[in-house]
């Protein structure tokens, strides 16, 4: 299985050398940042946030570590099979519970990635079928989970406060020299529109914006997830089905076939800015995913290919990333539907682009195996055994988790 461990490696010598060179160049600023961060987090609950690599330095308190990871909503890490197999059943149950609450299961199947045909072209067809209305190709999407809500300021602050911007293994190597420029209005690491390392009061449940594609990806690694692919995103939003007669049915908007201003935060909802991620519940998808349309554009893992763009043969001067879903300022409903694809530079930090995350089901501890399986596999001590287990056992598990968190991000 190509899991987080499969591709996760210790930094190679070359990588380490490059990292050290970058470090030497930016060390003074980063030291200042570390100092700022320590000041900013002074007095915080140690279970709330942690310093980078802190997990590795407190191996004896596995329960505390798991609690902290759950509190930081990093349950996907705990549900990696290699880790889940070593945890207490209660911990796995808690992680699974969080997974069910925070993410929606998207069944495997095909989704048509494409663009809607102009209504004027409909008359060419005697029988209107979804495949006539959409120009595109079906793409198979394996079973996966997708966040029910976009990542919020509060969630992202945990990443910032835990030193995510100082942890090289979370970032693409190519972007290392630029990470120190990913600062807020006051020069601290964080999203562009924050000040003094924190978000505007009252916006804790608003989607985090002002983050570029690399920042979104680093956060995804920190919580053990990924940015959704275009196909994953579209499948979660359109909820495609194949009827018994073979007809494909795929929704244009998460709620159906007509645009409605009251179901999504787009320009015509006249809110003029972002809303909390759980607003507009009437616009949720069949799978219970909120705001796939409106509020903020969402970064996806893929490059912009123009597959969901109304104009054919579109070129960008530099490679751009695909963004989907429209935002609070998207003027046309047709540009905020489940098909429409737009593009943005991966380094852009815009006020109307945020993200949500996904994870392939095969990367996680199989939920249907149940937690009972854990004990019978012999790799997991029973609860009683766990209580008796000495710090050496806990230390081994903690080290595994720490390795996962700090190293294994090069998928």
């Amino acid at each position: 299985m190509k899991g987080i461990f499969g591709a996760g490696k210790l930094l190679s010598l070359g990588q380490a050398a490059r990292w050290i060179a970058t470090l030497a160049e930016h060390l003074p600023r980063w030291c200042q940042r570390g100092e700022d961060r320590r000041k900013a987090t002074a007095g915080c609950d140690p279970n709330e946030v942690g310093a980078p690599g802190e997990e590795a330095h407190s191996p004896t308190n596995l329960d505390g570590l798991v609690r902290r990871l759950l509190k930081q909503e990093r349950y996907a890490l705990l549900l990696r099979p290699q880790i889940a197999a070593r945890l207490q059943p209660e911990h796995v149950r808690q992680a699974l519970e969080q997974l069910r609450q925070k993410m929606s299961l998207i069944p495997e199947g095909e989704v048509i990635l494409g663009r809607t045909r102009e209504p004027s072209a409909w008359q060419d067809f005697t029988e209107l079928d979804e495949s006539y209305l959409v120009v595109g190709q079906p793409v198979f999407v394996p079973r996966c989970y997708i966040d029910r809500y976009a990542v919020t300021n509060r969630q992202y602050q945990q990443f910032v406060a835990a030193g995510g911007y100082e942890e090289p293994s979370l970032w693409d190597e190519a972007i290392w020299p630029a990470v120190c420029q990913f600062t807020d209005q006051t020069g601290r690491p964080g999203p562009r529109f924050w000040r003094h390392g924190t978000f505007e009061a009252g916006k804790e449940h608003h989607p985090v914006v002002g983050v570029n594609w690399y920042e979104a990806r680093a956060y995804a690694r920190w919580v053990g997830k990924r940015l959704p692919t275009d196909a994953q995103w579209a499948k979660a939003a359109c909820w495609p089905m194949r009827l018994p007669d073979g007809t494909r049915v795929q929704r244009r908007w998460p709620w159906g076939e007509t645009s409605e201003n009251t179901r999504a935060n787009t320009w015509h909802a006249r809110r003029g800015g972002t809303m909390p991620v759980d607003a507009f519940p009437e616009g949720q998808t069949v799978g219970g995913v909120f705001q796939m349309v409106g509020n903020v554009w969402e970064w996806t893992e893929d490059d912009f290919t123009g597959v969901g763009f109304p104009q054919p043969s579109v070129l960008t001067e530099v490679p751009m990333k695909s963004i989907r879903g429209g935002a609070f300022d998207t003027y046309f409903p047709s540009q905020a539907d489940c098909y429409f694809q737009s593009a943005e530079l991966p380094l852009a930090r815009k006020p109307n682009i945020g993200f949500r995350l996904a994870v392939f089901a095969e990367e996680l501890w199989a939920e249907d195996q149940g937690t009972e399986d854990l004990a019978t596999r012999g790799s997991l001590p029973s609860t009683e055994g766990s209580v008796r287990a000495g710090s050496a056992d806990n230390s081994a598990i903690s080290r595994t988790i720490s390795r996962t968190i700090t190293i294994a991000s090069g998928e």
């Binding site: 102009e118 320009w267 006249r270 763009f309 109304p310 104009q311 054919p312 043969s313 579109v314 070129l315 960008t316 001067e317 751009m320 429209g326 935002a327 300022d329 998207t330 003027y331 046309f332 047709s334 540009q335 429409f340 737009s342 593009a343 943005e344 815009k350 109307n352």
Partner: protein, 304 residues
């Protein structure tokens, strides 16, 4: 009906026919049947003006270099103000005035920019609308032509070729001067100097205040602000830094002016055409700052 009963009616029609229709742009008198002003080629179809009502109409000049975004800005402005129940509303008068929206808005929804406005005045879009504000007792009329940028540039050298523009400069009650923020930020002086020319022409021809400054309110609009975030943060500061000559002229020659930044699209890409060539296409439409310049202008427009 008496055999002679028809005579007075014919007389009335004849009398009406003899009443001239005055052009709202150049105020020249035209015969009633004319569709366009014989002098400046502005359409006479928008509202069959009674001779005395022409003075009541406000004219706004939309000025800027070719490709600066005049047509897209005006269409988006009309579209936004034509659908919201807000303090300020615009109501198109006659189907003629909706042509601009009908051409531009569907194109933007398809992620296309409209074609360049042709140089011939007959092919320009002329918008005649009614301004409705809660604070005004009655609605009042506004005419905004959307001239081709090339025609504006030409008219600076050959004013007699474009009497509509010369008259617009002379009789405008307010002006919007558009300038491409992306070009300015890349250090393009040509864009700035052309804007200075237009501003200078306006200041020369439009009515002057006793201070010698041009007294019509002028909104300087930095377009394509999506390409230049500094313009969004501080439009006036951006103008002062990146277009010092224009800023200096505005300070010296305009009695009332303000600087605004406008964004219509959220990014652009190129589209390869089936044969040779490429065109710029908008990646998405997300208007910002569209209403502010116009609202400012309306607030500073003297009532007639």
């Amino acid at each position: 009906m008496r055999p002679g009963g028809i005579t007075p009616l014919q007389s009335l029609r004849l009398a009406e026919y003899l009443l001239p229709v005055r052009c709202v742009i150049c105020e020249a008198e035209n015969v009633r049947d004319a569709e366009r002003c014989q002098h400046c080629r502005a359409p006479l179809t928008f509202g069959q003006w009674r001779a005395e009502s022409v003075e009541m109409v406000h004219r706004v000049g939309l000025l800027g270099a070719p490709g600066v975004g005049k047509t897209v800005y005006l269409a988006m402005l009309l579209d936004i103000l034509g659908q919201q129940e807000a303090e300020l509303q615009l109501l198109a008068r006659g189907a003629f005035s909706l042509n601009l929206q009908a051409e531009v808005i569907p194109a933007l929804a398809r992620c296309e920019f409209p074609d360049r406005t042709p140089k011939l005045p007959e092919l320009w879009n002329w918008v005649h609308c009614q301004v409705r504000r809660r604070r005004d007792r009655r609605p009042w009329d506004l005419v905004i032509p959307d001239p081709a940028g090339e025609a504006l540039v030409d008219s600076l050298e050959h004013p007699l070729n474009y009497p509509a523009l010369t008259n617009l400069f002379r009789r405008a009650d307010a002006a919007m001067l558009l300038i491409d923020a992306g070009q300015l930020s890349s250090g393009c002086r040509a864009e700035e100097l052309l804007a200075v020319k237009l501003l200078s022409q306006l200041a020369e021809l439009a009515p002057a205040h006793r201070s010698g400054k041009c007294r019509i309110p002028t909104a300087i609009i930095l377009t394509k602000a999506d390409q230049c975030e500094a313009a969004q943060v501080s439009p006036a500061g951006f103008l002062r830094t990146h277009a010092p000559t224009l800023w200096y002229h505005a300070e010296r020659r305009l009695l009332r002016y303000a600087v605004f930044a406008v964004q219509i699209v959220g990014g652009c890409a190129l589209r390869q055409l089936p044969h040779n060539g490429r065109v710029v296409v908008p990646l998405r439409v997300e208007p910002h700052g569209v209403l502010e310049p116009f609202t400012w202008l309306i607030d500073h427009l003297g009532r007639k």
